[in-house]
Homo-oligomer: 147 residues x 2
């Protein structure tokens, strides 16, 4: 049984674990695991880098099925990951460095990134488990702002 | 004085008002109002449609100063707006239909959109007031997923 140490605290471990499970389901192209990551509620929302806004469990999970069908392999490294928690809501943000296509599994020896995306992942805590309610990923076009 | 009716409830009116104040500050290119919209905390994050991830109050507010300097006029219409609240966290999502450039003020008679973006706006409630902690806007490239 999973430890419940952060069931009523702001300890980020549970949200960090849920975020890892999301990317693990994506890398394994495991639709059942991806279903389990998301909250079972029609308020869920998803924006993939192609840009379209998807609302509702059927459209969101249907998009993952389409992506998994079209993907041979994909791997992620997350940079500059932050986790913020307020009550039963956590938002995890990071820059995704993405390798996709043949030979891009997590075991790949070719580290060339296929692209970068900024991801906002919003989790809600229900019965001690963090569930994804919003994923918003968008391409990093270029450095634009100074600082 | 603002009504405090939703200070401890899930009434979306306060979050809706805070979201309107964000877009009003943007349309008026009012940097002081934009500063007031954001939480005074270095955890704030912002992703503009150009795609770069900005973290911290100085970088986020600096980006708004740069955008306001470069913008003559801009106006927004929000479509398919949703508001979800869990405790003291609210996320407002919508498709922004954007008109920018000369003659693009809210009074413009030219309704042609200059572009569309999907926006995720995350607000935290502090002392009864909703403050922006994350803005993630990304361009809508094309329809991609069925349904």
């Amino acid at each position: 049984m999973e430890p419940m140490a952060d069931a009523h605290t702001n300890d980020p471990k549970g949200a960090a674990r849920a975020n890892r499970e999301f990317y693990r389901a994506f890398e394994r192209l495991d639709l059942e695991a991806m279903h389990a990551v998301w909250l079972d509620d029609d308020s869920v929302q998803c924006v993939h880098p192609a840009g379209e806004r998807l609302v509702g469990r059927e459209r969101v999970l249907g998009s993952w099925a389409a992506i998994f069908r079209a993907t041979e392999s994909i791997a992620f490294e997350l940079e500059d990951l932050t986790i913020e928690i307020v009550g039963d809501l956590a938002w995890v943000s990071a820059v995704e460095r993405i390798r996709a296509g043949p030979g891009a599994s997590a075991r790949s020896v070719d580290p060339r990134p296929a692209g970068e995306a900024v991801a906002t992942n919003l989790f809600v805590r229900r019965d001690g488990a963090w569930k994804l309610v919003l994923h918003h990923a968008s391409p990093v076009a270029r450095r634009f702002f100074p600082g």
